[in-house]
């Protein structure tokens, strides 16, 4: 889930960087099979999600019934549709809409991309054991047009030689909800019925029926599909694009929806677990073709054999009728001839006969010509049919290939076990297979050099770590244009003199830029020493761009992570140093007090002894005591000086940035706790001149203390608020307030002392260090606390005054102003 989120983020970033901001209205037609309001509440979150994930577009939904859907698609009033499987196939054959995704329907808490129908009877119907036993029985379904509610079952029945409209004693359509059918069968009102898969299980779960009361006819088993079903399984609702919708937009929408988390609001509202790559809807087509229930005006998709099977008897009838007509015509002609002969008498008998013979011959010629024409027409039709079949096979092949490539792509990128490098390796291999090219490489472009970051080259042509002059590669073209480049054969193209061909023998090339934070990082490219037979298709380009986009997104994410890690390490380092310095300071301070007292006492003694002419020997010893105590003081001083040598980096700092960095770190620590962090910022905040890391450390100390304080309370009001504001004339204050137990008033004086702590495992350094840092920045820090109601710790820093804080004066003051 985390992966999906970050992939989505990266993609969204990439996409955001590429698109010029202009909001285009995009409409998704959704089938409102349970009314407009339900459709709106189911799909509006998806539209909102898409509007956010695909910047530059304002995406809305348009609930439609079946008739309105047909009209909207016909007039291209929508850009995408979400509709049921049956309707989709209908629209696909009529208007050429194409699916880009399939819904992961959430059924009993789990996602399923396929569904079917179940044909059932009462368990005590001993005479009905299989589908054939249904002949002469009564049967109930949803409606003639219901895909899951009737047509799936119809197909299975037809496969068992049962025509539901002829062979049943009675066929009743009950409409929605399907529960009515189940109840009717249970009460014995009808002998059998059919409903969508999981209806029976759901009703049993809701306690409306008991499964043991029913028997499933023609039961089937499908791996990974736990529900009872009697029919083949068909894909769930698709998300489809219309013909006019651009492929680029469709791809972006598809990527956004593919990465929609299963537990997101959009997925839950749609009662789904998100979307997946589109399934094969060919079985649905087959169903309709077989049942002939939808307008499939594309006979061309049937094979000649099927045509004969389907329409053979019509051909026979037509031919018989034709022969019959010829016979009748001949008979009439002959009869009329006889009448003519009897009318004309015998005087011109010979002439007349010759004339008649001529006429007959002419008739015969006409007939022969018509038969020949007809034969030619049929031959032509046959040829066209065959060509259509070939074209369709090809198209299906391409579709299957791109689908499998997308599926592989998805599998690789979403794998949890593979490292980034392994994933890139797998992508390169997949790319080589899919594009039919021998070498794949991810390159990094730095100045004029093209570094091979990672390579897949079974022939060993290149390896990771190789460097090439950029101008020698086609990658130069790709990085310059920031667009994909496909050269199936260099010969005859504009690149026939390019060094990548003349020097490196790359005759086919296919590459796309890899963008990180909107800048060209390098390229993802595939190439071969042999020309490619076919040019690259739109789908190929889409797959390549998708790969390059994913790699760019991942690189961006890892860079950002590395930066965050480095920052944390730096902070931890400073924290360690400060702790050490603070401890040394603390010890020095504690020891200094008694040492001062020793020195004072002994000096006083020496003076008085001198005045009273005391024992010279004792005076001498007392002086030595003084000297030793002073020496101890010097040692402490040296230790302190040593620890103090940390570098300070003063800069102009915005305290809002400091607080933001810290709250983000803190949020990751309390992600599973119910603590609400709130940051309030005054407008018109002055900047300060300070060491940013040290200030972060102070805020982090305060926030950690606050979180610890809140953790000790189990109250509902668990709130940590940070207020950054202007105070006095020119000061900035940061107030950290928690809802913990507060600090007893007698402890309030001590909390800034080194080694003072109220925590069981505390060191007592945090606030002490914080005070040192704030005071080294000419600020002050103090505490307000109301026992039982929480604590507020506030620090105030002077605003940055450019005239006062030039770098030189700070550098000069540094040894005095810091403790590190």
């Amino acid at each position: 889930m985390r992966y999906a989120k970050s992939l989505f983020l990266c993609c969204a970033l990439l996409v955001a960087a590429q698109v010029v901001a202009k909001d285009t209205e995009i409409r998704i037609g959704v089938l409102a099979f349970r009314g407009v309001e339900t459709a709106r509440s189911m799909w509006s979150p998806t539209a909102r999600y898409l509007s956010k994930a695909v910047p530059g577009y304002r995406i809305s939904i348009l609930p439609l019934n079946l008739a309105e859907m047909q009209r909207a698609v016909d007039l291209a009033r929508v850009d995408f549709v979400i509709t049921n499987t049956g309707n989709y196939v209908d629209l696909e054959s009529q208007y050429g809409i194409s699916r880009i995704l399939t819904l992961k329907n959430r059924r009993q808490g789990k996602p399923y991309t396929e569904f079917g129908a179940v044909i059932f009877t009462r368990a005590d119907q001993e005479n009905i054991q299989n589908l054939r036993d249904l002949k002469g029985r009564s049967f109930m379904a949803v409606s003639r047009d219901a895909f899951g509610g009737f047509q799936m079952a119809w197909r299975e029945l037809a496969d068992h030689d049962i025509d539901p409209f002829r062979d049943f004693r009675k066929l009743r359509f009950a409409g929605f909800p399907q529960d009515k059918i189940v109840h009717a069968v249970h009460k014995g009102e009808v002998d059998a019925g059919t409903v969508r898969t999981d209806t029976l299980e759901r009703m049993a779960f809701e306690g409306k029926i008991e499964l043991k009361d029913f028997r499933i006819l023609n039961p089937r088993e499908t791996a990974g599909f736990p529900f009872w079903h009697s029919t083949r399984l068909y894909p769930e609702w698709p998300f489809a694009k219309l013909k006019h919708t651009s492929d680029k937009l469709a791809q972006r929408v598809a990527v956004a929806l593919l990465t929609l988390p299963a537990d997101s609001e959009a997925a839950l509202a749609a009662q789904s677990a998100g979307w997946t790559i589109p399934l094969d809807y060919a079985p649905v087509h087959e169903l309709f073709r077989q049942l002939k229930v939808r307008p499939h005006d594309n006979l061309g998709r049937l094979s000649p054999g099927q045509i004969w099977d389907e329409y053979g008897h019509w051909f026979v009838i037509a031919i018989v009728a034709l022969l019959l007509m010829i016979g009748i015509t001949a008979y009439v002609l002959r009869a009329s001839h006889r009448i003519a002969v009897s009318e004309q008498a015998l005087r011109k008998e010979v002439q007349e006969r010759k004339l008649a013979e001529k006429k007959l011959a002419a008739h015969r010629d006409t007939l022969e010509q018509r038969v020949a024409e007809r034969t030619q027409e049929l031959n032509l039709l046959n040829r066209t049919l065959q060509e259509d079949i070939v074209a369709r096979t090809l198209a299906e092949e391409t579709l299957r290939k791109s689908e499998s490539a997308l599926r592989t792509l998805h599998d690789i990128t979403s794998s949890r076990s593979l490292s980034f490098t392994k994933k890139v390796e797998a992508l390169l291999r997949t790319g080589c297979e899919h594009f039919a090219l021998s070498v794949g490489a991810l390159t990094r472009i730095e100045g004029d050099i093209c570094h091979i970051q990672q390579a897949y080259a079974p022939g060993g042509e290149i390896a990771s770590g190789d460097q090439l002059p950029l101008s020698d590669t086609f990658c130069a073209v790709v990085s310059q244009s920031q667009d994909s480049l496909g050269i199936p054969d260099v010969n005859g193209s504009e690149f026939s003199t390019h060094p990548c061909f003349s020097e490196h023998r790359r005759q086919a090339y296919f590459g796309a830029p890899v963008l990180v934070s909107g800048l060209v990082f390098g390229t993802l490219s595939f190439s071969d020493t042999k020309p490619r037979n076919e040019s690259f298709t739109k789908v190929d380009t889409d797959v390549l761009l998708l790969m390059a986009q994913w790699i760019g997104g991942e690189l961006e994410r890892t860079t950002a992570e590395a930066r965050a890690r480095q920052h944390q390490a730096e902070l931890a380092h400073v924290a360690r140093l400060s702790t050490m310095g603070e401890m040394a300071s603390g010890i020095a301070h504690e020891l200094n007090q008694p040492l001062t007292a020793i020195v004072n006492y002994t000096r006083g003694c020496v003076k008085r002894m001198r005045q009273n002419h005391g024992d010279a020997k004792v005076q001498d010893i007392m002086k030595k005591v003084t000297t030793e105590a002073e020496r101890a003081g010097q040692i402490i001083l040296r230790v302190r000086e040593f620890v103090r040598k940390g570098e300070l980096r003063h800069d102009i700092v915005d305290l809002r940035d400091v607080v933001k960095t810290v709250t983000e770190m803190a949020k990751s620590q309390i992600r599973y706790e119910d603590i609400n962090i709130q940051v309030i910022t005054d407008t018109d905040l002055p900047l300060v001149f300070a060491d940013k890391i040290q200030l972060e450390q102070v805020v982090l100390n305060l926030v950690r203390n606050a979180i610890d304080a809140i953790r000790e309370r189990a109250d509902t009001n668990r709130k940590l608020s940070i207020h950054i504001g202007r105070t006095g004339d020119d000061d900035v204050s940061v107030r950290v307030t928690d809802t913990g137990q507060g600090i007893p008033s007698d402890k309030r004086m001590e909390i800034f002392d080194p080694f003072f702590t109220t925590k069981e495992d505390g060191m007592g350094m945090g606030l002490s260090i914080s005070r040192s840092i704030i005071e080294a920045h000419n600020g002050r820090i103090f505490v307000k606390s109301i026992s039982e109601q929480g604590t507020t710790v506030e620090f105030v820093l002077p605003a940055h005054d450019p005239a006062l804080h030039d770098k030189k004066s700070v550098a000069r003051l540094k040894p005095l102003r810091t403790r590190l």
């Binding site: 007090q593 001062t596 020793i598 000096r603 006083g604 005045q611 105590a629 002073e630 001590e750 005071e775």
Partner: protein, 203 residues
């Protein structure tokens, strides 16, 4: 309290203040010790004489805040800030706010004593000046409004005739005012009068 110079020690650490008191008394310096700024403020009297040593870092009111409070009460006692190593920035702030000096703990014998002696001396001088100023102010208070007016013009260097013309009075009257001013202010010469005027009201 006594009338001789006293070192007022304010320090929250009992052994430090006790030992310091012991050391200073060995040098025949009178001391008076306080465990907190609050305690000191309760006892404070503006006629005290000597100097104050203040520990910067104390629970409750810290040294700097005490310094501020004393300032508001018109304190003239020099303040010596005693700091632990870490409080250098605070010491600098104290100096800017008018502290006499600051000393880091643990301090060297002679350094501390020298500093104290200089402070006491400066404190004495300041005190004398203050006494003097008080006296002059008391004399000035006995002048009539007209006499004050004439005195301001005399001090500004104007001749009797000019003053007479400005105030539309006779020179004789001015002369009379002038001799009364000199005797009331106990000024033996014009320059002495000018000095007095500068002390009570810096021009």
């Amino acid at each position: 309290m006594n009338n001789g110079p006293t070192v007022y020690i304010v320090d929250d650490d009992p052994s430090v203040r006790d030992s310091l008191s012991w050391l200073l008394e060995s040098e025949n310096l009178a001391t008076s010790i306080f465990a907190s700024a609050e305690e000191f403020l309760d006892a404070y009297h503006h006629e005290w004489n000597g100097c104050i040593t203040l520990d910067v870092r104390m629970p409750g009111m810290n040294g700097l805040e005490l310094q501020e409070q004393l300032d508001q009460r018109g304190n003239s006692l020099p303040i010596i800030i005693i700091t632990a190593h870490a409080d250098v920035p605070m010491a600098i702030r104290a100096m800017k706010a008018g502290a006499f000096d600051f000393i880091e703990k643990p301090f060297l014998d002679e350094q501390l004593l020298n500093c104290l002696r200089r402070a006491i001396k400066a404190g004495g001088r300041a005190r004398r000046e203050q006494d003097q100023r008080l006296e002059i102010e008391q004399r000035y208070a006995t002048l009539t409004p007209r006499e004050r007016q004439v005195m301001q013009m005399v001090v500004a260097g104007k001749a009797n005739k000019v003053i007479a013309a400005d105030l539309e009075l006779s020179s004789k009257t001015i002369e009379a005012h002038r001799s009364r001013i000199m005797s009331k202010m106990k000024a033996r010469s014009l320059s002495a009068l000018v000095r007095m005027a500068m002390m009570i009201e810096p021009v």
